[in-house]
Symmetry: C2
Subunit: 315 residues, 2 copies
């Protein structure tokens, strides 16, 4: 295989047909069929070597982030986008992928990335319909864009929470750096099931950390929130880290849990707690929306919650 | 402005409303309205510092590529994608943009890139509906994905050329490195006008060089082609380069002309030549499709045409 176009041929041979794909890889643009009067959801995320991940065998290391295979990194690059579609309670349909590959070993790397991308795309019936393959002297760069359509409850935004709503998460939080940040399964199915059962007022996926993402949901909804410290589910990883920060601090501040945080009417929330209608999932109420402010209630005391979390500094 | 989220706020304040945008930047995903039973065209291109461009003031240089401002690079990142939509005779609708920014000076750079992206997106009524902003220690990375819908002639692929078709280009070729590779205007309007006037059998935009892109069009169409050397329009830049390669070699081999190459029935082609129906554009017939092979006819002699051009080497 000699270059970009041979790689595209390799891809095309491996691209299965998909009912929504009219034109797949290999033309100037791809084409999807789209249903009548349906919104088109779009999300995009870029993963950068040395910032978001450490690649096995590469000299570029991120302190504290264990090296991962190209296949796991490819899987993650797709999964973070699927998680964004889940956060809108949408159905993923298709994806395009652009990569900046090292000149040395780029071919093998591209194939492993592709297998990882397909691992999770196939699991969610998401077609990879195109992309752009480049080689350069810089670190590995992957950009994925995913298209989806609304699920049974329509598009769920961050902006619909109201004072009095109960806040839920779909799983235990914190410490994802020990592995979950790579190997999580995006909550696409769970979001669709929830949206088919109840009216979701607002939803976001936890990528930057509970406190930071809650702050975003509240800012969009123009309300505040109280988190109940004792109710926040702590992951095994958050308990295992054993550093200076408590497991609760990890659950509040660590990024990349990729669980969903959502708001529902209190009555609906109590029904969800009673019935736990999502197979394999323990829905946990972790707080409630209030008029304003972000608060953490611990041992009966309410204190301001700092919306700490991961952010890309720009100066 | 302290980081990624402040930058997103800056963007949101500058994002005008657009009839097709239901959800713009600032949620987990954006949402577009889509017309009933209309295909969704998708294309994506990634620009990498030191590979595709030289950024003013940066230590990373591409030999022979003059430094350009962030604004011009932003414009190009959008324009190359619009050119892909033009190549399908489509109408661009919206775009998402992901960037990997240097930590030092990233904010000012991001704003300049955005202004450049908007310069050309606005000119084609294309909304920027979302993206992903990252900072890292690597060179500048920009990935743009554009969505479009079919124009009046439907989706024009690379695969419909037939022996006997005339081959046309929309402008002079070669030497784009002197400036056109940054400042070209994608042939969106010209493609739509053409598609409304005649049946286009096949089309591609010239990004990798005439010979290389002709080879792709022919491979997809399962036919061959003869180029008429004396008919190929040579750009001023191709004549000015004054290096070891002839202007014709530049026109055949240089990438990033971003003109359109298209095939039409011979009779239709003769009508186009007679009527020149596109204002401001001189349509030039540069050859014809044949059963097989790629050929260059020069002074009455037919010789094999080497599909040289730009490719990303992968090893």
């Amino acid at each position: 295989m000699a270059g970009e176009f041979a790689f595209i041929d390799w891809l095309r041979q491996r691209t299965p047909s998909h009912r929504r794909v009219q034109i797949g890889p290999g033309d100037d643009a791809a084409a999807l069929s789209w249903l009548a009067d349906t919104s088109c959801l779009v999300t995009t995320d870029m993963l950068l070597e040395g910032s978001c991940f450490t690649l096995e065998g590469s000299a570029i290391q991120v302190p504290g982030v264990a090296p991962a295979s190209a296949r796991r990194i490819g899987r993650k690059a797709m999964a973070v986008n699927l998680s964004d579609i889940a956060a809108m309670a949408g159905v993923p349909v298709a994806a395009v992928v652009s990569v900046g590959l090292p000149k040395q070993g780029g071919q093998a790397l591209a194939q492993q990335l592709y297998l990882g991308l397909r691992d999770i795309a196939d699991a969610f019936d998401t077609a990879i319909i195109g992309g752009d393959t480049n080689s350069w002297d810089g670190p590995l760069t992957i950009s994925v864009t995913v298209f989806g359509e609304p699920g049974p409850g329509g598009v769920i935004r961050r902006s619909g929470a109201r004072p009095g709503d109960l806040l839920f998460v779909t799983g235990p939080l914190g410490g994802s750096i020990l592995g979950k940040h790579l190997d999580f399964t995006p909550r696409v199915r769970e979001a669709l099931r929830l949206a088919s059962l109840v009216t979701l007022h607002a939803m976001i996926d936890l990528s930057d950390g509970l406190a930071a993402d809650l702050a975003k949901l509240c800012a969009e909804s123009r309300c505040g929130a109280v988190l109940w410290a004792e109710s926040i589910p702590l992951s095994e990883a958050a308990r295992c880290l054993g550093d200076a920060r408590s497991p609760l601090d990890h659950a509040l501040g660590d990024g990349e849990d990729f669980e969903l945080l959502f708001a529902v009417r209190a009555e609906v929330g109590r029904k969800l707690l009673r019935e736990q209608p999502i197979p394999g999932l323990n829905l946990v109420a972790i707080g409630e929306c209030v008029q304003q402010g972000l608060w953490l209630e611990q041992k009966g005391q309410r204190q301001p919650l700092d919306p700490v979390g991961w952010t890309h500094a720009l100066d």
